[in-house]
Symmetry: C2
Subunit: 240 residues, 2 copies
DNA sequence: TGATTTCTTGACGTTTCGTCAAAAAATAAC
DNA sequence: GTTATTTTTTGACGAAACGTCAAGAAATCA
């Protein structure tokens, strides 16, 4: 790769870095192409060489963090333990991602809202979806193994797909709620992360995925996963 | 109220109607003030008499449907039956709302994304939050009664707040997923609404809220709620 | 009927997006 | 090492939309 090509690669990363920070700190409305160009030290035309439009840049930001999430999930898949402990490691990965990339939810929401926008290159949308699919595949594989081994006794009409969708929904809903004000005066839900962890356990208990959370303390598995798999990231995110 | 004032009121509703449809059909980017004015048959200046900005109009759209949701939830609270059947009625209300106001998720997401925008009048934001709070209050009251009566045996560290947050998250996450493409090839989750209903049952079973879904068929309660409480709406939404 | 207040209008200033022809830089050819 | 060609960068420009406001129209009041 020629030095020029390398420079272009690096610049794209820097553009994404700047856009990511701006999105988080100032919001979508203040994500201005001129300003990004100025901060990175290039002209606006050059930014448009990398990204076809403002929305395309936004999608690129989302795609980059989504790729990181998929990588975290796949790392979690290597966790050693019972099937449900391995799912707890995946949940830990979701937590780490959530803490490390607080901009991502907003970015992905906006990309989805810019629905079918012809201004977003199809490859980027495809990349984003592939990453989500990879996350689902990790979870599905673990649940399928649990079902095969008997740890997860699926009842009539239940499937590993249903379970994974439910767990995903639970997490997405909770992440969505993060920047929302509190709707409840109940102090028991002040700790959003703890509430989410407990609810995920209730949900998996509802499937009777053994060992139940009454039989085994999954916060131990969670901490082991954070230490063994995500040590650096978890420390950076303040989870350790 | 003078005829003029009535006219202004009506016009505001028409503006909201048009904005709502445009938002759903063409997306946020194509929600143009000039165009809305033109469709309703007034000038742009008049639109700005009603709404301080484009984002404020968006927030007004969200606030209006949120008020409808709160009303549906409160109607659901009047359902007769066991505590868990009454919660099933609330879930039915959420389904009805979801089907009737497909624009709402997007609108609320965008308002939240436009975070702290000084262009949205504080009263509208407050109205939006009050409506969500009303929904939570309905759910919380039912769960609290269930806990008091012994139907819902909360374990150490669990609370009705946690349960309501979890159920809300599950629904929000599922609604968020609606317009998303499918991530899974699993045909068992093709039926998004059915998957959501089953997952909600698993979740409440996880709390051991009696009668469990294995002991009682809650689709019966759901259909009764749709018929008794939301007959018109459910028919309009194609749920009956 | 005339005076006063309230409401409506659309042209205008501003901002930002995205384009593109010209200039600059990098690479290739000799 | 110099010239030619290709690639890359630039910033001025046109288009589009937001939000404003002074002038005019309509409604209410006296």
């Amino acid at each position: 790769m020629s030095p020029k090509q390398q420079e272009i690669r690096d610049r794209e990363e820097r553009l994404l870095d700047v856009a990511q920070v701006m999105l988080l700190e100032r919001g979508y409305e203040d994500l201005r192409m001129d300003r990004i160009a100025e901060v990175v030290g290039v002209s606006k035309g050059t930014v448009y060489q990398h990204f076809g439009s403002r929305d395309d840049l936004l999608a690129a930001v989302a795609a980059r963090s989504a790729a990181t999430r998929a990588a975290l999930f796949e790392r979690a898949a290597r966790f050693e333990g019972s099937s449900r402990e391995r799912m707890a490691a995946v949940e830990a990965a979701a937590e780490v991602f959530f803490a490390l990339f607080p901009h991502h939810e907003q970015a992905e929401r906006l990309v989805r809202a810019a629905h079918l926008s012809p201004k977003i290159s199809p490859e980027r949308v495809a990349a984003l979806e592939t990453c989500t699919q990879r996350c689902f595949e990790v979870a599905t594989r673990i649940a399928a193994e649990a079902a095969a081994s008997g740890d997860l006794p699926l009842r009539e009409g239940q499937s590993v797909g249903q379970l994974c969708v439910g767990l995903w929904n639970l997490y997405q809903g909770a992440f969505l709620m993060r920047d929302l004000e509190k709707f409840m005066s109940d102090p028991s839900v002040d700790d959003a992360l703890g509430t989410l962890q407990r609810n995920a356990r209730v949900f998996l208990d509802g499937f009777a995925w053994r060992p139940l959370s009454t039989e085994l303390d999954y916060s131990e598995a969670r901490e082991r996963a954070l230490n063994e798999l995500f040590s650096n990231e978890a420390q950076a995110a303040g989870l350790l």
